[in-house]
């Protein structure tokens, strides 16, 4: 399923990217990437262009005053980070159903694989967690580029089912977080009322958390009208309703509020919040949008 969007032309481009870490992270100093946190500083090595997410403290104000160019100082210290990629595989991710388009699970899987490949290329330790219905399965991917293939195979074996329980997955992640430095959650943020509480707690412990909010176009702008039975993909609960223009407008308003609520929550807790719509070009999303969102650079 990840192969659908992750093609061989994209892989070389991904290798030119690196994951951006915002918080002070713990890790073993044998990775290829340099860390920019103050505790890890050993020796000045070079300047590079400022990128969103860089610590202001490492901006070289002297250079800025002379050249009007914002650069940050880089220090040599090789570190290896632990990255947890957590994928929501609840039934709601298998949407849109039978429409011929990319499902949310497929889009999220491809996105996850892309980020994993960027991390593996830098020899970071990658772990995959999939959760649905209160059950969370962990899979250690490794730290070599070749490990992308077992990861993709694993992702292709996943099918969406069960309910959403983000809290359990995050709790499980929190328990393993002693050795982990970056947590990226791929979910549609539906069906778990306690998700924010758990995520807030995890963020308060200093975890660098990113949430890729995957939605489909039909969720953002539903086209269906008329009298129909709406059945919840996860719970099976149903309501009979007449979807009028007015009801559709109300729904869109509610959905927007839902997304804005999550965005506000993420901003408050220093969590990267990256909405992804499944009909947006995948390569654009990875190469440009994730970069603008500060998750890669």
């Amino acid at each position: 399923m990840a192969n659908v969007l992750l093609n061989k032309d994209l892989l070389p481009k991904l290798e030119r990217l690196e994951l951006a870490f915002r918080r002070a992270q713990r890790g073993r100093p044998d990775g290829e990437r340099s860390s920019s946190h103050h505790g890890g500083r050993i020796e000045f090595a070079d300047y590079r262009q400022y990128a969103p997410g860089d610590d202001f403290r490492y901006i070289d104000w002297n250079v800025l005053s002379r050249t009007d160019e914002v650069v940050v100082k880089q220090f040599e210290r090789e570190e290896q980070y632990h990255i947890s990629l957590i994928l929501d595989t609840s039934a709601s991710m298998d949407f849109p159903k039978g429409g011929g388009g990319v499902t949310k699970l497929e889009y999220a899987s491809a996105c996850l694989a892309s980020l994993a490949y960027i991390g593996l290329a830098a020899h970071h330790q990658i772990e995959l967690a999939t959760f649905s219905g209160g059950k969370c399965d962990w899979f250690t991917v490794g730290a070599e580029k070749e490990k992308i293939f077992p990861l993709i195979t694993r992702l292709e074996q996943i099918s969406a089912s069960g309910g959403t329980d983000i809290s359990s997955a995050l709790q499980s992640s929190f328990e393993r977080a002693r050795e982990h430095s970056l947590v990226i959650l791929f979910t549609d943020l539906l069906g778990d009322a306690r998700a924010q509480e758990t995520l807030g707690a995890l963020a308060s412990r200093g975890c660098d958390i990113s949430v890729v909010h995957v939605v489909s176009r039909e969720e953002v702008d539903p086209a269906e009208r008329g009298r129909m039975i709406l059945r919840d993909a996860e719970t099976g609960q149903k309501i009979v309703a007449r979807i009028t223009e007015s009801a559709a407008a109300k729904y869109k308003e509610k959905f927007r509020e839902h997304c804005e609520g999550w965005a506000a929550f993420a901003a408050k807790h220093d969590i990267r919040f990256l909405p992804a719509v499944t009909d947006s070009p995948f390569e654009d999303f990875v190469m440009r949008y994730l970069r603008h969102g500060g998750l890669v650079r």
Binding site: S216, E224, R227, M228, L230, A241, R242, I243, T244, A247
Partner: protein
């Protein structure tokens, strides 16, 4: 109530099927959503909860079913039968070809017989309106007084292709409730025109006609020889008396034997005279109009043209090409004697204009109504254009003039062609007392213009002489066919017809014509015109009698109240209401 298209009622079986499909679609449509919570809130807020489904579906379902039923009902075309009324409009089409002037062995004209039958049947039917058409499609009239109008219809000697002509009346036929065709050949008439039944009233019998089908008069050493091809269309062998008349005097009589369906040529002895006629006289002949042929040896005197000037080879050559013209040349204006039909003054002018037709070419000074006012010149050539439509001039756009006269002409003058800036005159016509004056504003030689080398130059002379001569050639036997446009002298207002009916002269584009209606000798002015036999296919026609007992009519829709219109309107309204409700409710 009756249904004009009852089979459409089977469509009502679709209504329950449609209802079932509608209910199935409306009641069972289920979609999965990733999260129901947002939808639940939205539905509650918008008040779009469906409530009891069956109740909510009632209105659109009712509207849809009603619209469908009404439209199906309309398609079955229900009408309420009312009082029977007379047909609204009967289209009567009369074949007026010459064969209809044939009479049967009892002396009844085909045409009269069909008209009488039509009158009788129309009287019985008493239609509210009658439209009468004469074929060939020359006129069309709507009248109530059928008898008087039918009596005014005459046959025409022109060839009439009835089948082709009928295709031209399909527009009128579509509006008619019945079509009646009067003809002598029902095989050419379709059973329906524009979906309307055609009643054919035909009258005729096996042809008894003997006709002269071709005629030729040629010049010989001792005068003229006439050849007539006589055809026997009847089923019997015949011995036909033939007479040759010259200027109304019988000069030769003979008999020719012709087998049934065969033909024979009659050749006259050498004859001299102005009008040559050949008559045949068959005892039992159905059509008389094709029994006489004529040739006119017209214009025994030549058109005398006086040319006064130093000589112009182009003018002489152009006039030589016209066989009826006799040119007499003079060098000095004072030498000219009278009696010419046309005086051409080339570069000279007389002291006074003679009566009749005068042409002034490049006049060196003013004379009478023609006053010279100056000269327009351009060594590169002046373009000219036709200023007024005239048969004298064709296209002169390629003609150039190095020098043109500026002329002051009277109010009655016509400038026929002038320079593009209208200052110089190429050709003008005016009157001075009894004299018709044609003025050419330049010398007609190549040092002044290239006109003599242009095709329009000989045409100009030919037309000029033709106008003066009234379209006649000289010493040559001429004849025309009926319907031909025959040119005559402009002053011939009326053409006399040998057998009493005069034909008016028509003036078009400065030329006078007449159109002969019947074979015979026409006289316009002093010139005689021979008009010959009718079209052979009209002579050869076998008539068929077919007298229907009644006129077939379509059902008079005016006698019914068309309920289907109301059902159609109601169906459309209900469909519109259904669309509106569905749109408002977002279904």
């Amino acid at each position: 109530m009756t249904f004009m298209n009852p089979s459409a009622l089977f469509g009502l079986l679709l209504v329950p099927v449609f209802a079932w499909l509608y209910l199935r679609r409306a009641g069972r449509r289920e979609i999965f959503v990733p999260g129901l919570a947002l939808w639940q809130e939205a539905v509650e807020l918008s008040g779009a909860e469906s409530g009891r489904r069956t109740g909510a579906m009632t209105l659109p379902l009712f509207l849809a079913m009603s619209a469908l039923s009404a439209l199906i009902f309309a398609a079955s075309r229900p009408v309420v039968t009312g009082e029977t009324k007379a047909p609204e409009n009967i289209l009567v089409i009369a074949d007026c070809s010459m064969s209809m002037a044939t009479f049967d062995s009892k002396g009844n004209f085909y045409y009269r017989a069909t008209k009488q039958t039509a009158s009788k049947l129309l009287d019985e039917l008493k239609p509210t309106k009658i439209t009468l058409i004469k074929l060939p499609l020359e006129e069309e009239s709507i009248r109530q007084d059928v008898d008087s109008f039918l009596s005014t219809l005459l046959t025409t000697p022109h060839l009439v292709d009835v089948m082709s002509e009928l295709t031209r009346v399909s527009g009128l036929a579509a509006k008619a409730s019945a079509i009646v065709v009067l003809t002598d050949d029902p095989s050419k008439v379709p059973s329906e025109i524009a979906g309307k039944p055609v009643t054919v009233i035909s009258y005729g019998e096996k042809s008894r006609n003997i006709a002269i089908e071709a005629f030729e008069v040629t010049k010989s050493e001792n005068g003229f020889a006439a050849f007539a091809l006589v055809k026997n269309h009847s089923g019997k062998d015949a011995v036909i008396p033939v007479k040759v008349l010259v200027d109304d005097i019988e000069v030769e009589a003979g008999r020719i034997e012709i087998k049934a369906g065969g033909s024979a040529v009659f050749t006259s002895k050498p004859i001299k005279g102005e009008i040559i006629e050949v008559h045949i006289e068959a005892d039992d002949d159905g059509l008389l109009y094709d029994n006489k042929v004529f040739a006119a040896i017209s214009a025994s005197q030549k058109i005398s043209v006086a040319y006064i000037g130093q000589g112009n080879p182009f003018i002489f050559r152009a006039l030589e090409l016209l066989p009826q013209v006799e040119v007499k040349r003079y060098k000095l204006a004072g030498d000219v004697s009278g009696g010419h039909a046309l005086y051409i003054y080339d570069g000279v002018v007389p002291d006074a204009l003679p009566a009749g037709e005068v042409m002034l070419i490049n006049p060196p000074r003013s004379l009478g109504a023609v006053r010279t006012a100056g000269v327009v010149s351009n060594p590169d050539g002046i373009r000219a254009a036709i200023a007024k439509e005239t048969p004298l001039l064709t296209d002169i756009s390629d003609v150039r003039f190095k020098r043109l006269l500026q002329l002051e002409l009277g109010e009655d003058a016509d400038i026929l062609a002038a320079s593009e800036d209208s200052r110089g005159v190429v050709l003008a016509r005016t009157k001075d007392g009894d004299t018709n004056v044609t003025v050419v504003g330049c010398g007609l030689d190549l040092s002044e213009t290239n006109w003599p080398m242009h095709p329009s130059f000989p045409i100009f002379w030919s037309e000029l002489v033709s106008e003066i001569a009234g379209g006649q050639t000289s010493g040559v036997p001429v004849w025309y066919n009926t319907g031909d446009l025959i040119p005559v002298a402009p002053d011939a207002e009326v053409t006399d017809y040998t057998f009493g009916e005069n034909v008016d002269t028509v003036v078009r584009g400065g030329r006078a014509y007449f159109i002969p209606k019947w074979p015979g000798i026409y006289t316009a002015g002093d010139v005689k015109y021979a008009v010959n036999v009718i079209h052979p296919s009209e002579s050869a026609n076998d008539g068929v009698t077919q007298v229907p007992s009644e006129i077939k009519t379509v059902e008079n829709t005016a006698a019914h109240r068309p309920l289907w219109r109301y059902f159609a309107a109601a169906g459309l309204l209900l469909a519109f209401a259904f669309w509106g409700v569905v749109r408002v409710k977002g279904e």
